[in-house]
Amino acid sequence: MAFRLFASHLRRAVRSQFACHFRQNIGLVAPVTSRGISQQAEFDLSPFRYHLLDEVFPKTSVATRDEMLSYYRDMVTIRRMEDDSFALYRDKLIRGFLHLYNGQEACCVGMEASIRPDDEVITAYRAHGWTYTRGVPVKEIMAELTGRTGGCAKGKGGSMHMYAQNFYGGNGIVGAQVPLGAGIAFAIQYRGEDRICVALYGDGAANQGQVFEAFNMAKLWNLPVLFVVENNNFGMGTSAERASAVTAYYTRGDYIPGFQVNGMDVLAVKEATKWAADYCRSGKGPLLMELDTYRYYGHSMSDPGTRSVFSYLVGHTFCVVSHCLCFVKLSWKRRCPNCKETTRSYSIMQGSHP
């Protein structure tokens, strides 16, 4: 008990020292005890929200040092890969379209930690992170981006159309991949396999009619599909509130049970996905998972996030104090008006630098 208190004090002290963009309790990787260094630690998870479900997720998660390091390595690799793609695009070595995944790394890394390599995944065009976690080496991803035959789609697809074993892309048309995901899940069910299909889409796509058609078919036939909304709160430049009558996307499945996870908390994503994957795999039907996340760049390179549409975000940040977490305008005092703690986190517009 004393150790837990000590660790939490240590966490707060450490966190206020380091600029942290993740508004969640990431905690220390390896709390030092009086007897030496531990190989694992227990972390508090961000709170979940449920729709047609009881509170089924654990409040804490135990992770080993190696696991955490591998998540960190994967997330940083994706972050650096995206930043370098940004630079290559500016140098005109990548042409066409480029939708960067900065900020959303915890979504794919956390989910991949809990699904099996032979589960199917299909997503939209913000696909580089998923392409990496599905096993495509960075070299092949960059080759695909630069249009070379060494790319995972032989250079013919580009940024938006990357494919791999058990990864159906990489789809350009908004929302079109969701019925496809339901179809893949039906193929799995038809063959009697115990795999699932993870069908991802965004908050903008959540208003597409075909998504609801897919929901209906999935629930009607109890398909083993996990629908995932990567809600980064913006559809291009339009905020979710201006496009959707209901922004609680995890409830939009209506008759499909849903839940919301803090998409910036890799352990929360991992734990939630583990439960959800088991649920779908056991034949209980589809689920709708909302990942509350954020992208640090604009929608694509045609809208890199430095124009006036994001101007109200400049000079704002999240207060990193765990019981506060409010979105505040940075003042010269760097003091959060809500909890009165002094914060040293960077502006949200500098989010690409850890």
Binding site: F97, K156, G158, M160, I173, G204, Q208, G209, R242, A243
Partner: protein, 301 residues
């Protein structure tokens, strides 16, 4: 008459901003990301008597709305015996290759809509044409699909009259008079053929007549047929794939009307029958060299 220089893009942005500031945000507004919803919504508005101008962000995304346009918009007047119609609907969308668009930001779907009686399809080539054709389309009492070649947003620049004017729909314009070959195109492809006309004049001594179709459906058959009867040779060019592209319709009508006047088979220089490519775009689009080859072929038949 006062004239102002407008880039096509600035023209359209100004139109939009003017709309926003003059008529208010309740009349010019964003919609959620649902093309089928946008089209159906616009059709309903138009049927109820309001002027509806709907925008689809790229022509490549119009396919969810295709059912609404083809089954509802195009057939409303006919199926209700003229009791209802959605003539006050105009749907605008950027179309065509842009250099880096790849599969889903480069398509030209005019052929799909041209196959639908009840719709009108209009494609302008320049800022002056855009203003006249757009105003005519909005005021036309039929649902109009207005496709704007997106590459011209940044490239086309003209002195556009500030007064109100319309350009008659279903009229083609002879941009350049000639006597040996009739070239028919629309949108951005006209600029390519314009260059080919010069090349043909310099290198082959061939005088080409260039016609801008402007309205794809219903298209001006008289102008084109009259021209082919004069020249005896036809070349039609567009970016959309060759098979079942609109060039096929032009060519088959011309051969039916002007058969005995034709000196050579009509040539179609179009995109290849593949999805619009990402890295192979320079090979895909009907550039001036392919068009020039076709001119050489039909003049030396």
């Amino acid at each position: 008459m006062a004239r102002t220089c407008h880039l096509m893009r600035i023209l359209l942005t100004c139109v939009l901003l003017l709309c926003c500031t003059c008529v208010g945000k309740d009349r010019v507004f964003n919609t959620p990301l649902s093309e089928q919803g946008i089209a159906g919504f616009g059709i309903g508005l138009a049927t109820a008597g309001a002027t509806a101008i709907a925008e689809i962000q790229f022509a490549d995304y119009v396919y969810p709305a295709f059912d609404q346009l083809v089954n509802e918009a195009a057939k409303y007047r006919y199926r209700s015996g003229n009791m209802f119609n959605c003539g006050r609907l105009t749907i605008r969308m950027p179309c065509g290759a842009v250099g880096h668009g790849a599969h889903y930001h480069s398509q030209s779907p005019e052929a799909y809509f041209a196959h639908t009686p009840g719709l009108k399809v209009v494609i302008p080539r320049s800022p002056i044409q855009t203003k006249g054709l757009l105003l005519a389309s909005i005021r036309d009492n039929n649902p109009v699909v207005f496709m704007e070649p997106k590459v011209l947003y940044r490239l086309a620049e003209e002195q556009v009259p500030v007064a109100d004017y319309e350009i008659l729909l279903s009229t083609a314009e002879v941009i350049r008079e000639g006597s040996d070959v009739t070239m028919v195109a629309w949108g951005k492809q006209l600029y390519v053929l314009h260059e080919v006309c010069d090349m043909a004049k310099d290198q082959l001594g061939v005088s080409c007549e260039l016609i801008d179709l402007r309205t794809i459906l219903p298209w001006d058959q008289d102008t084109v047929c009259k021209s082919v009867c004069k020249t005896g040779r036809l070349l039609v060019s567009h970016e959309a794939p060759l098979t079942q592209g609109f060039a096929a319709e032009v060519v088959s009508t011309v051969q039916a009307e002007c058969f005995l006047h034709l000196e050579a088979p009509a040539a179609r220089v179009c995109g290849w029958d593949t999805p619009f490519p990402h890295i192979f775009e320079p090979f895909y689009v009907p550039d001036k060299w392919r068009c020039f080859e076709a001119v050489k072929r039909i003049t030396s038949y």
